[in-house]
Every structure is written in C-alpha cells, then in structure tokens.
Amino acid sequence: MTMTDDQVLSQEHRVFQQTMRRFFDKAVPESYVRDFYEGEAGFDPAMWRRLDAEFGLPGLAVPEEFGGSGAGLIELVLVMEEMGRCLLPSPFLGSAGLATSVLLRLGDTEVNTCLVPRLVSSGDFAALAVTVSSGDWSEDAVSVRAEGGGDDTFRLSGTVRFVLDGDLAPLLLVAARTTSGISLFEVEPDARGLDRQRARSLDPTRRLATVVMHDVDGRLVGHEGTAWPAIRRGLDDAALLLAAEQVGAAERCMDLSVEYARTRHQFGRPIGSFQAIKHKCADMLLRVESARSAVYAAAFALDQANPQASRAVDVAAAYSGDAFSWVAKEMIQVHGGIGFTWEHPAHWYFRRATSSAALFGSATARRRRIAAALGMPC
C-alpha cells in the first residue's frame, strides 16, 4: 500500500489490449471452446503457432537477448485478461506464465541461452511439475527425490499432481529435492520410468496431468539446491497472471449477465429493470474493477521490483479468485434455468472459476501469507 506512483495503462497498452481483444474475439468464438466439451479436442498446435507467429506471445516477457520481445508482466497481464475472457484452452499459462518465468528467474546464463529460446519461438512449450498430492505450492511440499550420479545427471522418483499440460509438454521441468535442497531438472518426455497421465479436469479447458517418476533420468537445470527462490518468484508471476485471467473471465460473465438482463423479459419488463438483478450486476462490476485494479497494481509492482510486490500479488490473487468465483455463480443465478443447462456457457466459467480458485494455492493460503507479512505472530 505504500506504492504511490500513478500506475495506469499507457496509450500503447490500450492499443495492444484492443488488438488482443479483436484477435481472440475472432479466433476463439464459443464454438471453439465448445469443441473441448463436446469432442476429444485437446491441445491445438495451430493456435499455439498463431500466438507465436502473429504476436510473439510465448516470448512476450522474455528479454530480447534471449529471443523474446522484452515486455513486462503488465503486458502479459493484458494478454491473460483476454485469454480468460474467451476461456482459451492453451498451454500459455503453464509455459509462458510459469515455466518460462521460473527459468528466467534462475538467472543462469546457460539456461537463458539454451532452454529459454526453445520456449520462445520453436513451437515448444513447457510444463513445470512442482506440487504434491496436497495441492500445496510451498517449498515444504516438494517431495520428489533426486539422487545424484556425480555429473549433472540425477535419478528422480516421486509423484507430482496437478501439472499444467504435464502429459503433453515437450519440455518437462521437475522440482525435486537433492541432498543440498530443491533443484530443478529437465526430464525427457520419453524417458524410461516416466508416466504421464492426463487427469479428468473439472474444467476441460484446463489441461492437468499426474506425473509419476521411478528412477527417471533428470538433467540438472541451473545449480543444485538453489532453485526454490526462482520457483517461488515464478509462482508469484503465474499467480498474478492467473488473477488477470480471472479478471478477464469475470468481466465476460458480467457482460453476458448484463446482456441477458437487458433482453430477457418477464412480467412484461426486462428483468434487468428489477433491482434484485441490477444490484447483482452492480456488484459484479465492483468486483471486476476492484480485482483489475489490484492485478494492475501488483503487475507494476513486480515490473518495478518493488519490495512489497509479493504481498501485492497475494492481495491480487486472493481477491481475484474470490471475485471470479462469485461472479460466475451469480451469472448462473441471473440467467435462471437456462444458466443451468449444458448448452449455455455459464458452467464453463463456473468450472474455470472453481478450478482456478485452487490453482497455485487457495485464497485462504494467500491470506495466511498476508497475515504473516503483516507481522502477526505465528
């Protein structure tokens, strides 16, 4: 809260935002998302290539020297808002948001020149396996064991659940514990002893997998025992991007609700003329714009390396998760019976909201960190 600089989007930001809105409006209509519900549609390589070829999105926030566009988190936030709005099913969050960020935050020259460029424009994407069955994204929860063999090759054993795109990613990164602490490893997708199973997601547009390893060869990425700070900061980045996605999705829920309330008539008048409905919509607006303000503030704080940035992320993530869940639920209520059908997209957003509320840690977990950061005794 001590950040007092004026932090608003520039004219360039707004133009970029409009470009993204136009692209996704056209490229990701409802029918595109519906295929993920109705068919066996999974990963769409053509869409992933377009994001790179047309806008360089996978490398948007990667420094130019490593092949990226050198933008900041605020630009990624604007992209995520639009992806959330249309519910784009994509490895973008897991790869560009989480894995790339962790790699960059390692600050390791070899990683930056070898691994990072692979994620910028080769068409590859990465998955980072870091959680255990508890679903906790904390240091203590890292339970995969890595045993060293003298050089940079280790053997990894353990199970990691809730890995974004973990069954598909050409580049699989695993956080594991060695005798000297938490380290990051690259595992070949076809390595012996590796089993990757796609999970049946509550939200079919969010691909999750369980990764099981029995003495799997892993190549050390960066230095042994020092990966946690980079993972922690990468998780902060990803949590913020998830919050941005939630803002965009929540705003779409609000727009759909307002549109329905304007056009649906009962008792001879639009239901949006009833205060009970009006006030729900106003509360949606309050939550959407509040969440957006918190997300932008945290993005600027991270981009400026503000010492309070991590707390600002906790605030933005805790608030946006709750806000999106609330708006998605109220959207169903405003739509009445039609909102409870498989046909209507309301449940897509409800599923995304419910699922996202648990990704990278719950709002309750974030508030635990906030309380500690406020100096309350533990």
């Binding site: 004026d6 932090q7 607006l285 714009e289 303000s293 805790a318 309750t364 508030r367 906030i370 406020l374």
Partner: protein, 400 residues
C-alpha cells in the same frame, strides 16, 4: 503574508513544512485530550491560512494559492498522512464543495465576494439538499424559491444539514419554476442563515451526538443576485459540487483507513488474538479489501490527474469504501469481545464516513463510536442501494 509554493517540488516542500510545525512526538489529533481538539484545530487552520495552504487551487485574485487541483490533492494527502486536518470541521462545505463550484459557475461579483470570505473563515457554509420527503429521490424536492423584485423568497424544509448550527450561509437546491419534472426547474440559491425566516433544529444521531440539523425556511429571503449558475440550472450545479467532494474524499480516505487499520492491528495485539487462525484470516481479508480499494482509488486518481475522463470505476469508489468501513467497524467490535459491552474512554468525534481521528486510543469507546457512526457510511451521499442503481443504469446500461 502567505508563502509561495512551487508545483514542481510541492509534495516534498509541503511535507517538510508540516513536519516542522508539528509538536515533537505528534501522534495525531485523536491522541489529544478531547477538550483540546477544538483549540488545536482552530489554531491549525490559522497556520494553514497563513501559509497560503487554504484554497491552494483557487486563483490568487480570490486569495487562493494559484496552483492546480493536482497540488490540492497532494496537500490533502500529506495532511492526512501527517494526521492533521485540512481545516475546521465545517470547512469542507465551503472549501471543497462550494468553492470549486463557485469558480466554475459563479459570476465575477460572486467569486470576488464569497471566495476570500470562505478562506478567511468569515463565512461558514452548510448544504441544503435533502428534504424529509426527498432523500434518495432528490429530484422530487419541494422547497421553493420565488423571485419578487429584489429578492428570492424561500419556503420549505431541509434535513441532515451538517454544521447548520454554526453556519453563516446555506446553499439551497430549490424549485424556481412550476415545471414539475424531476431535475428541471431547480436553482442553486445562496441564503444567509442569520434571519428570522431560517430556523435550525438539531437532530440527535444514533450515536448520541448532535452534528446535523433540520433547517426550516419560512419566507426566508436572499438577494436576487444570490443564485449560482443560471436560474433553472440548479441540478447541474449541484452535480458539479458533488463531483468535487468525491475527488477529495477518494484521495484522503485510503490514507485514513490505512492509519485506522494499524490501530486494528494494535487491537488484535492488545487482545492477544494474533495467533487465532480465524482472526488472522479476518484481518488478512480486511487488509486485502483495503489494499484492493487503495489500488482502485489510485487508478481513478491517475486518470483524473492525466486529464482524462474518470472511467467507470470512479462510480464505484463511494460504494466500495463505505461498505469496507462498515464491515471493518464490525470486525473491530468482534475483536473487542466482551469489552464491546462497555464504553471505555472517549467516543467519537467524527465526520461522516471517516475513521476516528488518527492517533485515537485503541479503547472500546473509540471503536464503539466508529461502529455507531459507520451505520451512516452506507447512507450519506447516496445509499448503497442508490449507488448500485447508478452503477447498473449509467455504467452497465440496464433499464430503469
């Protein structure tokens, strides 16, 4: 002799200036013995006036500082941060509301007469908008002003008028034509209080204090020139006035509430509840709200200072802050536990939807005062229900 202020280094200069004036170990107005507050505020107002810090954005020819609205907001922030008021309790009506509105709508003679008198403290103003039968539906008001020769004759009743008991003038929204449609045919009339046709009766609030009043007009008179803006344009003038009030409040409330939140943390510590998981979650939730709303406020402020029109989020500020503060007061009372049954220490004093004075004790009396007063947060300046209607209709385009 008022001093010169430079826009380029204003924040640093004014911060240093305030720091030099405050007594050593200054903890805020709330830390003064209750009996000393009035004297301090009076003397502090004189200090600000002498330093040229009253009416900072008003043109010099009317006694102002000749700087911009941006510096005035910076000043308000720095004063709040230093835990001192920006003037006397009745000053906001004259300095933050009527003054800027006079500058926008007033005739040369009106500006030259009224503005310097506000700054010198010679005229105290109060606001006559709400009526017993026209609260949320302000457009239905029925107080009338009828022109007759040299004078307007005013008849009707206003209510919830803060500071009427000390005011010299009241700005009145009154019907001046027979046109009955809401928002039309109203004028913004300036009426002197000291006359037989104006009667003030105090209203005791639920907190037990007397801060606002009923004002009765029975053939009250004011000179024909004392209409602000064109006759019939009263509604527009009134809306201008309310927008000035809002931008000021948006800048200073976050600072006040941050200071209040520190007192809440101190209360948790005093009650020994810091390890309670539920309390920790409640405190973190309150902090999250506070922090989110501060970001929302900064976004609105930045848009205004860049000269752009405030976005749709500006409409949310009042609604958001008032509900935050109402909830915070309830949390504080919960944390007090059984102590909340007994009023320990002083209670109040307050202005509408503000926190207790900075530096106030962590006593039950202070929080009970906050609780009682917070019930007005979601009523004054448009109830939460009206705010939601406005958001839904004007921002989201839902039908009336």
């Amino acid at each position: 002799m008022s001093r010169e202020w430079r826009a380029s280094t204003f924040r640093e200069d004014v911060r240093a200036f305030i720091a030099r004036l405050l007594p050593r170990g200054w903890k805020g107005v709330g830390a003064l013995p209750v009996g000393d507050v009035d004297a301090f505020v009076t003397q502090w107002r004189d200090t600000l006036a002498t330093a040229g810090l009253l009416g900072l954005s008003w043109p010099r020819e009317y006694g102002g500082g000749g700087l911009s609205h941006a510096e005035e907001i910076v000043l308000a922030e720095e004063l709040a941060r230093a835990k001192v008021p920006g003037g006397a309790p009745w000053d906001p009506m004259g300095m933050q509301m009527l003054g800027p509105t006079l500058l926008e709508w007033g005739s040369e003679a009106q500006k030259a007469h009224f503005l310097p008198r506000i700054l010198r403290g010679e005229d105290r103003w109060c606001q006559g908008f709400s009526e017993p039968d026209s609260g949320s539906d302000l457009g239905s008001l029925s107080t009338r002003a009828v022109a007759d020769g040299e004078f307007w004759h005013v008849d009707g009743q206003k209510v919830w008028t803060s500071s009427a008991q000390v005011a010299d003038w009241i700005f009145v929204l009154a019907r001046t034509s027979r046109e009955e449609s809401a928002h039309h045919g109203m004028s913004f009339v300036l009426v002197p209080m000291d006359q037989p046709g104006v009667e003030v009766r105090p209203i005791t609030m639920l907190s037990g204090e007397r801060e606002f009043n009923e004002v009765f007009f029975t053939d009250a008179v004011t000179h024909r020139e004392n209409v602000l803006g064109p006759v019939g344009a009263g509604w527009k003038v009134a809306m201008t006035l309310l927008s000035y009030e809002r931008s000021h409040v948006a800048a200073t409330l976050p600072i006040q509430y941050e200071q209040e939140f520190e007192r809440l943390l101190a209360l948790v510590e005093r009650r020994g509840l810091g390890r309670d998981a539920l309390v920790r979650d409640q405190i973190a939730q309150a902090y999250t709200q506070l922090s989110v709303l501060a970001s929302l406020g900064r976004r609105v402020k930045a848009q205004i200072s860049q000269g752009g029109p405030p976005g749709r989020e500006s409409q949310l500020i009042k609604l958001a802050w008032s509900e935050y503060h109402r909830d915070l007061a309830e949390l504080a009372i919960n944390l007090l536990g059984p102590e909340a049954m007994v009023v320990e220490g002083r209670q109040g004093p307050f202005l509408p939807y503000t926190a207790d004075y900075p530096g106030a004790p962590i006593s039950s009396g202070a929080w009970i005062g906050t609780l009682l007063h917070s019930r007005s947060d979601t009523l004054v300046g448009g109830t939460s229900e009206i705010q939601r209607n406005i958001c839904a209709e004007r921002v989201l385009g839902l039908p009336r």
